[in-house]
Symmetry: C2
Subunit: 407 residues, 2 copies
């Protein structure tokens, strides 16, 4: 039998999906499972976009331009100006999901054996992409005590080598909900300028900011033109994850010319998704106000409940729709599995994403888990009831915490 | 400024797109351009699929399963049985276009520095994918005298090394329209079995066969189970290129498990495209009969006209909707550019894809060009009028042909 490749052998399986069979078994037994494990919102995709697609004349569903249709890209120029992001339609390539945008960015910026520095905990799939493309992720640990703020510059400097080609951040962060300040972005700028690195920023959660916070894109920072590569997607913004419509943006012409070769090789992004996306740009501002209000309510519900549980450490995330939580347990992989396999509270239980999957450093995240607050507050309260009850009976509860500072 | 990667530097630009600025300039001058350069059919996407999408309840456009929705995959099982292809829903991963299917196949089957053997001329983007993933394509030249039939087994044996991981074919072929016989597929089987290689077959033109020919899938050949990786797409079958809905199929469980990690890293294929694709499976048989009849008419029109032109060598392709033609010219890159820049006939001209872009061997294809017969017969006849007139006035016409056997 022919052998499979070393690069896919080195590619980790999605850690989030490992528990899926246990969730399925729980449901078979009749237990209701609250899915706090994935970032699939329950919010409706705005009708204005769906209508544009469903009323479009789809006589021949033809290829679009490899960089995306002119009409969609032109509309995006106006869209980004609302966020003080000044880009033109030549500085963007429309992609099949944010995933493809990241694929293009990694291929254009790195060779096999190169390294990308990523603050951890980080979105697990970054490792999947990097490893399959023979790129090593070099983690720099952020800590729950600071709410997962940017680690100090020294920590970056210590890890930069000749192999380092880029720093990759997610802002606001999946999985921590942390939002980088302008000062932190300026610090990153000084590093990438000094070492001639790309700064790749996954900004797909840009629209979800709380407590009056304002998100700053790396594209809005002066002096970043040659270094900044921004990844975007409509998945979270409009609750349209299944549309697979993303974007890679950079003012670095050489980098975009390389990415364009990849875009041409795969011919075209989805014509259907672009019609939807173009329609969605007309979504009224009130939609975001309502959605953010709803998420903020969910955020507060989850944070308040978690912070009230004995031994639980939960920072106060100001962006995205995740929180990364420390539990007083022996092992959160075991705890999350136990919740599905052995526990129920009034016939219900909770599915979370164990923390270890978000760290590259072996041994970290063993008491942590990511919670996506993508359900309504009633469901979230019930889920929190389950967690509270679970922590009273889980056999692996530990009394002494390694860290216990709420921020 | 940070450097771009060597791998994308080595990735060729799409040769088909090089002429686009010249076509745009011609149109600006008021010249009508017949686009025989790309495989974008003018045939309507069947209404039954469009209706399924446009009437679907798209409340939340959510991620699907990473391998594709269960309902679409189950329907595909029935669909492929119509072609004597016996596969189950676990043996397939739905992808964002055939392009992503090829990406998964290459990553799962090869490491950086490995080689894939491909009969040339071949679909130019194979080189784009391979180079960007640090894989070298090793070409084996097929010849116009045999209508681009499979080169002899000896030619393959001579090129196989420890680095060879796969043979990649396109059947029926883009760009030649050649369709491999069962005997040729059996020959390929004997090679891949003997050398433990994957046989990757791009079968996206399966439905376009003429003169009573029957296409045979590599999945329908006994003994191929561990070796065969089939790439498919709805782009050509239903004239839905912009939907970006493909499929990678293999009975090799290890290979598919690796591909599944990649599928999970990018989360999901398009939910919209899958609704369309599921609807399209109900396209009545009469649609294909009509479409094939139409393409056959176009094929005959183009072939007859080309074969009647002095010094032109045009085989008789029995599949897909391309023909790969030799012209009595000094250089077909120049000729194709000249057609757009300097020539017009009754205010009209022709755009073709120069042959060099389909060969990996330097120097081959300099008198050849690919013609896609994706326009109606009136337009095709007018395009042939242009070509005929052009060959009478093109300054680089050569009288003596290197090859001149019509097959």
């Amino acid at each position: 039998m022919p052998k499979t490749s070393k690069r896919t052998a080195n590619t980790p399986s999605s850690p989030i999906r490992r528990l899926v069979p246990f969730a399925e078994a729980a449901k078979k037994k009749g237990t209701e499972v609250f899915h706090l494990n994935i970032g699939q919102p329950d919010i409706e995709t705005p009708k204005i976009g769906v209508k544009a697609l469903q009323e479009a004349d789809l006589g021949v569903i033809a290829y679009s331009h490899s960089a995306g249709t002119a009409s969609y890209r032109n509309k995006l120029v106006e869209f980004y100006s609302r966020y003080a992001i000044d880009i033109n339609s030549e500085e963007m390539i429309v992609t099949n999901g944010g995933s493809e945008a990241l694929l293009f960015a990694i291929l254009a910026c790195t060779d096999a054996g190169d390294e990308i520095i990523v603050p951890e905990p980080f979105y697990a799939n970054y490792n999947g992409f990097a490893k399959s493309l023979d790129v090593n992720i070099v983690p720099i640990t952020a800590h729950i005590e600071t709410g997962f703020a940017l680690p100090p510059i020294d920590a970056f400097e210590a890890k930069i080598s000749a192999k380092t080609k880029a720093i990759l951040i997610c802002n606001p962060s999946n999985p921590t909900g942390y939002m980088y300040s302008v000062e932190e972005l300026e610090q990153l700028k000084s590093i990438v300028q000094r070492h001639d690195l790309y700064l790749i920023a996954d900004e797909v959660y840009r629209d979800f900011c709380y407590e009056g916070q304002q998100h700053t894109s790396i594209l809005a920072i002066d002096g970043m033109e040659e270094y900044a590569v921004m990844i975007d997607s409509i998945s979270k913004r409009y609750s349209a994850c299944g549309a697979r419509l993303g974007l890679v943006v950079s003012k670095n012409k050489a980098m975009m010319a390389e990415a364009m070769k990849l875009a041409q090789a795969r011919l075209s992004p989805s014509t259907l998704a672009q019609i939807l996306g173009e329609g969605l740009i007309d979504t009224p501002r009130s939609y975001f106000e309502e959605v953010t209000k709803e998420y903020d309510l969910r955020r507060k519900t989850v944070i308040n409940r978690l912070q009230a549980m004995e031994g639980v450490v939960c920072p106060n995330p100001l962006g995205a729709f995740y929180t990364f939580v420390q539990f007083p347990v022996d092992n959160s992989d075991k705890f999350c599995q136990w919740l599905l396999e052995e526990f129920s509270h009034n016939g219900k239980t909770v599915m979370m994403a164990p923390g270890t999957g978000f760290y590259d450093t072996e041994g970290l995240g063993r008491q942590e888990a990511r919670i996506a607050y993508v359900l309504n507050t009633n469901a979230l309260n019930e889920a929190m009831d389950c967690l509270e009850a679970a922590l009273k009976v889980y056999p692996g509860v530990v009394k002494k915490q390694t860290k216990a500072i709420n921020v």
